[in-house]
């Protein structure tokens, strides 16, 4: 059996997922990085994107909307503002998310908020076009 680390996805409201994972691909603000057991400790902020987790032979694809990840050799904790499992998402739900994200983009006040909203919109567009 491959070495594992503890993967936890936590939203402000509750713990969404807690598994022993072999590998996770995290959408960091400076680019994606792959987390394997024994990774050097890092604290990284996230951009909106897809988090790939491989655990016990199964793969999970989770969409996270900003947050940060805390990495140490035996653990990966992702604190996300909003996250959902892509397998549970229907195209109509994606469309609804996309709509709120687009409204956010229009209402964004500064460059930073606009940039985040923009990434979010394009990510969601990509996902919904794939799902369709």
């Amino acid at each position: 059996m491959a070495a594992t680390f503890k993967f936890e996805l936590v939203s402000p409201e509750r713990v969404l997922l807690s598994v022993d994972a072999e590998q996770a691909i995290v959408p960091g603000a400076d680019g994606e990085f792959t987390m394997l057991p024994g990774h050097a400790p890092v604290i990284a902020t996230l951009r909106p994107g897809v988090l790939d987790v491989s655990a016990q032979g199964s793969k999970k694809r989770l969409f996270v909307k900003s947050g940060f990840a805390e990495v140490d050799p035996a653990r990966l904790t992702v604190l996300a503002d909003k996250a959902f499992d892509l397998d549970d998402m229907t195209p109509s739900m994606l469309a609804a998310e996309l709509k709120t994200a687009e409204a956010e983009l229009v209402g964004a006040k500064d460059d930073e908020a606009r940039m985040i909203a923009d990434t979010l919109v394009s990510e969601l567009k990509r996902l919904s076009s794939r799902a369709a």
Partner: protein, 294 residues
């Protein structure tokens, strides 16, 4: 002297009241359990946040150049009090306890010549503070109609606070809410929000793993991100604690009310029976003395 019919009506009305308070107590008990679960579920996030934040902030050695969210604006002239209360009454001293603590602090600050601004969350707090401090209330947020408090509610409040802070409208922000200790004990608490009070780093924790830590994109950016996020997390925590406290307070208040109604029914029933017996005795005496007179 009340007639027998009046007394019967009185007893019936107290019984109806008892049914209502009993029902409210049970509703509060069910809601309390949900509120407690929500507070429990939110704890891991807040704990990780605290741990990471204290880790990062502990490494910032230069205390003068940090973010104003952490070190403040260097003044403490204008204070913002964020007073969180319930939307509804009938929960014992819950609302007035929070309002009293906030009012005391506000009066003390005004006495020291500071400017006080008040933001109320929840209708009852605004009602409570309007008389003495009405002109100090700058913002009223009402959360009526929200069934399940979500993080987005907290974010909305936090964003307003942050926008005000960036506009230089205040120097120090303090959050007032009721800490949930137990069903019968809720403690009104003041928590300093800006500048952030960083929890002390637990010195007994193993240092080795945390000592070398990398930050992406950079330490400053991560810290900045964490500090803004921390405001909404604390607000969210306050909201959840408050929700649990409110239901706890309402439950014990309604429990008391139910018990009082029960006592009252007992007393009234005894009085009613005495009156009934007295009436019967009186009637008997009347009949007997009438018969004897013949």
């Amino acid at each position: 002297m009340a007639s027998l019919k009046d007394m019967r009506n009185r007893i019936a009305s107290v019984k109806a009241t008892r049914k209502i308070t009993k029902a409210m107590q049970m509703v509060a008990a069910a809601k309390l359990r949900r509120a407690q679960e929500a507070a429990q579920a939110a704890r891991p996030y807040a704990e990780r946040m605290d741990a990471v934040l204290s880790g990062v902030a502990g490494r910032i050695t230069d205390k003068t150049s940090g973010s104003p969210l952490l070190i403040g604006t260097g003044k403490d002239q204008v204070h913002l009090l964020i007073v969180m209360t319930a939307e509804r009454g009938l929960c014992g001293g819950f609302n007035s306890n929070i309002a009293r603590l906030a009012r005391q602090d506000a009066m003390r600050l005004i006495g020291q010549g500071k400017t006080v601004k008040i933001m109320t969350v929840g209708r009852k707090g605004a009602d409570n503070l309007r008389r003495d401090l009405g002109k100090n209330i700058v913002e009223r947020i009402e959360l009526a109609g929200i069934k399940q408090l979500g993080f987005s509610n907290a974010e909305g409040i936090a964003n307003k606070v942050l926008a005000m802070f960036e506009a230089g409208e205040f120097d120090v922000a303090t959050l007032y809410f009721s800490e949930f200790k137990s069903v019968i004990l809720q403690k009104p608490t003041a928590l300093q929000l800006i500048p952030a009070k960083i929890p002390e780093v637990d010195s007994s924790a193993p240092k080795g793993a945390m000592a070398v830590q990398e930050y992406e994109p950079s330490e400053e950016e991560v810290l900045g991100f964490l500090l803004t996020r921390n405001v909404s997390t604390q607000v969210f925590r306050g909201l959840l604690e408050n929700a649990a406290s409110e239901q706890g307070a309402r439950m014990s208040a309604m429990d008391n009310a139910t018990r009082n109604a029960g006592d009252m029914i007992n007393k009234l029933t005894i009085k009613y029976n005495r009156l009934r017996q007295a009436n019967i005795t009186k009637e008997l005496i009347e009949i007997i003395s009438g018969a004897e007179a013949l």
